[in-house]
């Protein structure tokens, strides 16, 4: 079965979505990711969706759910590289992904994760 690979980078997990995200795949990712976070006690998850061109409300909710689940397991989630068209679609669908942190690219996403984990106060003030 097709799976989205989850890479471990120290205390963080890196997920790069490079295939068309369909609903089953999203549910599978949700399963795998929660599994890995608890297994490796990861402190942060970075999801790169720069190649994702089409989203629907289900995928949008999935991202929000993943972030919420990760937070319960004490890991921060950063979604990076969202395409303009995807952002517009999500806004038009009324999904602002309020609980999800975002960054422009993997680099600034990593910076953000380090910042969040390294400094408790910056997390509180955000």
């Amino acid at each position: 079965m097709e799976r989205i690979p989850i890479l471990r980078m120290g205390q963080f997990l890196l997920v790069t979505i490079q295939v068309d995200m369909h609903d089953r795949l999203a549910v599978q990712l949700q399963d795998d990711l929660t599994q890995r976070i608890s297994e490796w006690s990861s402190r942060g998850v970075l999801i790169d969706i720069s190649t994702l061109e089409i989203v629907d409300s289900f995928i949008g909710r999935m991202l929000a759910n993943i972030a919420a689940m990760a937070r319960v397991l004490d890991a921060e989630t950063v979604v990076v590289g969202m395409q303009p068209a995807v952002a517009i679609t999500l806004v038009e669908l009324g999904m602002s992904l309020a609980g999800v942190r975002t960054a422009l690219n993997v680099e600034s996403g990593m910076e953000l994760l380090y910042e969040l984990r390294g400094d408790f106060h910056s997390e509180m003030s955000e």
């Binding site: 952002a87 992904l97 422009l104």
Partner: protein, 293 residues
């Protein structure tokens, strides 16, 4: 049965020659249109009229028998609208056909004044209708032109400028409606990706009024930018607009707003860990912008 079709058909050459003479004196705009073009247009139109009038129907020109005439007129007025003729000049092109037609009717029907009057009335009705058609399609062309210019203006009026490394500014001039929001949003997000910017300043100094709809559009743009990982700052909030926003109960709690673009820029520099310094005569540097806590 009307004699008009028969007379027009029979004296087509004569009418056209007379008409061309009229055209060359009354509405000659040799700077805009060539003799050759006028000749072609008048020949086509007269042939189409002679064709259409055969049915005798002159009150209603919507029928299929008048389709060729309508087409010719459309083409004529479209080209004239683009060439820069005035509406009256365009209408005169058709109306100047009256005299040649009337003079033919007069010559041919001189013995029967009653019939002549009927035919003149018929011809007047017909030519007036045709002239109105011309003006209609002339205006339509103009309106299309205006609409296209509006669209161009819309794109021109939403520039995204790079202020500094990682800082974009988006000065919005004019009212923000949903069509413009779409353009603003798209160009902003595109620029965020291209310039890799973390902060975007939306300056609304040039927005005359902010109502709930405009505020909603602004919030949408800000949310979309946030989804991509860029923070937005709204600047240029005038005192009256601040009052309006509060009176309307618009919730901007989650949005950073600043009164001036410079304030927003200072915050943006701080957010991106940058600073602008002033160098005085001694070469000593001191911070240009005070850091806010």
């Amino acid at each position: 049965m009307s004699k008009l079709p028969e007379l027009i058909k029979k004296h087509e050459e004569e009418i056209r020659a007379d008409w061309l003479k009229q055209l060359s004196t009354a509405t000659r705009r040799s700077d805009l249109i060539s003799d050759e073009e006028i000749k072609t247009q008048s020949r086509e139109l007269l042939a189409a009229i002679a064709d259409g009038v055969k049915t005798g129907e002159v009150r209603n020109l919507d029928g299929p028998e008048w389709a060729p005439a309508r087409e010719v007129l459309n083409a004529v007025s479209t080209s004239r609208a683009k060439q820069g003729f005035t509406p009256s000049e365009t209408a005169t092109f058709v109306l100047s056909l009256k005299q040649p037609v009337f003079s033919v009717l007069r010559k041919q029907l001189a013995s029967t004044p009653d019939v002549m009057f009927d035919e003149v009335w018929r011809a007047t009705l017909l030519l007036d209708k045709l002239a109105l058609l011309t003006v209609d399609s002339f205006l339509q062309t103009r309106e299309q032109l205006i609409r296209r210019q509006q669209e161009e203006l819309m794109e021109l009026s939403t520039p995204v400028v790079k202020l500094w490394d990682g800082i974009l500014a988006l000065p919005i001039i004019g009212t923000l409606d949903s069509a413009r929001t779409q353009v603003v949003m798209e160009s902003l997000l595109q620029a965020v990706v291209q310039t890799n910017s973390k902060v975007a300043i939306i300056d609304i100094t040039g927005v005359p009024t902010v109502d709930t709809l405009v505020a909603q559009h602004l919030l949408k743009t800000i949310t979309a930018a946030r989804l991509m990982g860029a923070d937005c700052i709204i600047s240029g909030v005038r005192p009256q607009i601040a009052q309006t926003i509060v009176h309307l109960g618009i919730d901007l709690a989650n949005v950073i707003t600043k009164a001036k673009l410079s304030d927003a820029f200072a915050l943006a520099l701080q957010r991106t860990n940058q600073t602008v310094v002033k160098v005085n005569a001694e070469g000593a540097r001191k911070p240009f912008f005070k850091k806010e806590e």
